[in-house]
């Protein structure tokens, strides 16, 4: 890594620059492949979702899907600053920020948000903005801040070089780590689900909870190399909530991520990348989207449970215990 201009607001590393560790593996021992998942392709991974863990903000949530861990806080609605330059806003202004922790991926991330983080932020904005009843909060601002503490990426695949006798080593592919559509798609789907939970925890009125879903279509490795993609349709495998490691002998074809409002059957954000054949009209795309919707529906179940749990917690807290004495008595102030 080349030495960069020092950041005067932070402690800087030695100016000579440091490099991420590179592992050396002899070819005979073979690559350490990422773990293959044993779950069926139509099942999403277990989601842990809990809301209201941060007391100093309006709403918050914490989500965990296998290695992905993210914390979301919702600030506001709070009034816009009263300056002459602030334009009038009839509807609440929503801002979304997504930031990976420096230690969240195999390659250390910088402190300043990079393009992929900004991209995730704008997609999250699209997914949420339609669901919030922004007209109820004029002249105010709602901020959704996502901090990703841990994520799944290619791991050892990118920071290991293999050496054979008399052959040069293959260079590491650091800069692609965690940037693939599948890796970002899983993160975005998690962000959408957790952000809805946090917004609900904040008591912000919404039309419906948005849940995120992601699905990837895989084809046989030979199918892709053959004559055309169209031939491989019969071997197509749809995987909901895909892990980084592709199924045995398969290569990814296309990934679809969406934000889905189950009660209204509406898609608020759609992101398809990869090869989606057009030979059969939109059938291929429809299938992929349906798979992603199915994944989002499964996530919605968890979202509902989390919301219910939170309501139950509040009811229990205020229902069973006596209201605090000092809360009920007024204080007299003279003079």
């Amino acid at each position: 890594m080349a030495a960069k201009a020092p950041d005067r607001r932070r402690n800087n590393p030695p100016s000579h620059g440091t490099t991420p560790p590179v592992f050396l593996s002899s070819a005979s021992s073979g690559a350490v492949k990422p773990k293959q998942s044993s779950r069926p392709p139509n099942e999403i991974r277990k989601i842990f979702l809990r809301t209201g863990l941060i007391s100093s903000v309006t709403g918050s949530s914490f989500l965990e899907i296998a290695p992905l861990k993210l914390s979301i806080s919702v600030l506001g609605p709070r009034p816009l600053p009263r300056t002459s330059s602030t334009p009038f806003a009839a509807q609440a202004i929503l801002t979304t920020e997504v930031k990976f922790a420096p230690f969240a991926s195999t390659v250390r991330r910088g402190y300043v948000r990079d393009s992929s983080e900004r991209d995730l932020g704008s997609r999250l904005y699209q997914a949420l903005v339609g669901a919030i009843r922004r007209e109820l909060y004029p002249k105010s601002r709602i901020e959704v801040v996502v901090t990703i503490l841990d994520s799944e990426d290619e791991g050892d695949d990118v920071n290991t070089v293999y050496m054979e006798e008399g052959k040069t080593t293959v260079e590491t592919k650091f800069w692609d780590a965690g940037r693939s559509e599948r890796a970002l798609g899983v993160v975005l789907a998690g962000c959408i689900t957790a952000a809805s939970a946090a917004l609900a925890d904040a008591g912000i009125e919404m039309f419906d909870l948005v849940s995120g879903g992601v699905a990837t279509s895989f084809v046989d490795e030979v199918g892709l190399k053959g004559k055309g993609v169209g031939d491989a349709v019969s071997n197509k495998l749809y995987v909901r909530d895909p892990a980084i490691a592709p199924p045995e002998g398969k290569v990814p074809l296309a990934t679809c991520v969406l934000g889905y409002m189950a009660a209204r059957d509406e898609i608020s954000e759609l992101w398809i990348s990869g090869k989606v054949g057009t030979k059969n009209g939109t059938a291929e795309m429809d299938e992929l989207v349906d798979e992603a919707i199915a994944a989002a529906r499964s996530a919605r179940g968890v979202l509902n449970e989390a919301a219910k749990e939170r309501v139950q917690f509040i009811v229990d807290k205020t229902g069973t215990t006596e209201p605090l004495k000092e809360e009920s008595t007024d204080v007299q102030m003279t003079g």
Binding site: R8, N11, N12, I54, V57, F103, A104, M163, V331, T334
Partner: protein, 362 residues
Amino acid sequence: MPTLIRQPNSGERQPPPLTFSTSLFRQISPALYLQRHLLNNPPTRPNGRNPSQCRDFTLTTNSLSHAHGSAVVRSGDTAVVCGIRGEILTIAPGDDPSRFESYNGSPTSAIHACGSRGAGGASWGGLVVPNVELSTGCSKKYPLGPPGGLAQTLSDQLHELVNVTKLVSLDSLRIYDGDNDTTSKMKIKGYWSLYIDVLCISLDGNILDAAWYAIVAALKSSKLPFASWNQIEERVFCDPSRYHPISLRQSLPFTTTFALVPVPASAGGEVGEVALLLNDPDSYEEDEACEILTILSTTDLGTAQGDFSQLSLGKLRTRVEKIEKRGGWKLGISQIEDCTQLAASKAARYIHTLAKEQLTPM
């Protein structure tokens, strides 16, 4: 329960008293609200603790998959996540590693003055780089965006603490040439540089103690891959199957922070003001504090190492390494002595929790 002292009715008609709810009182007059609580007998803080009581804390180590070491510390409503990642600093052919050795071996904190920020970036500087991130939506009060005053101060304080305490010994950070004799300094080909990032997830006061504890715990649980210089490729490679811990100093230092809150007191007919010490303040108390006292101390548990329940304060051997006091003049020597006692018991609890966490299999 807060009650205001009513003035004696002096005959003339007084206006009807203004009444409002406690929660409103808390909002509009925090100083008075806090004082009324502390004037109770025994003094009780608004959060229900007594002045010398600290919050319960929990520690979880190595829960992150990509960090070389990590710790999550939750103390009351303050929660921090600390992740440590090692990166390799390769020494260029013309460089002299002894400059590094002297920097990190320097006995005083003088070197800190020309630290990594002031001089416009580290030249040959600390291999340990702590940074605190508060722009995570951890509190309503803290704005998003680049690190503000508090985050910069904290990063600097932690950097100084790492340097002053010589927490990390250089032994485990050196990278040597191949399988050669590891005692010769000439064979040093590089160093591990440790990036310590502390993310504040939830902020409710006393972030320094939580952050420092998270750093110590994360360092203690870290495992670095075994790295060596490869002569054929002329670069440093790591062995994916061998890991080694980071060697830390023998007795681990811990910080304990107190807030001083002025309370009116009448002694012998004279109305004055005394300062009350609050252990482990939350953000509401921090806002009203006139002084903040931080004690860095190490504690030797002695014979009671294994059994925390049999631990008594008298048996603890404590060494104060650093006292930092910000602002004010109200704090006396005797109070500082009391604080060191409290700091010792807190440090003992820290060590105990850390040892327990290390023992539990992951």
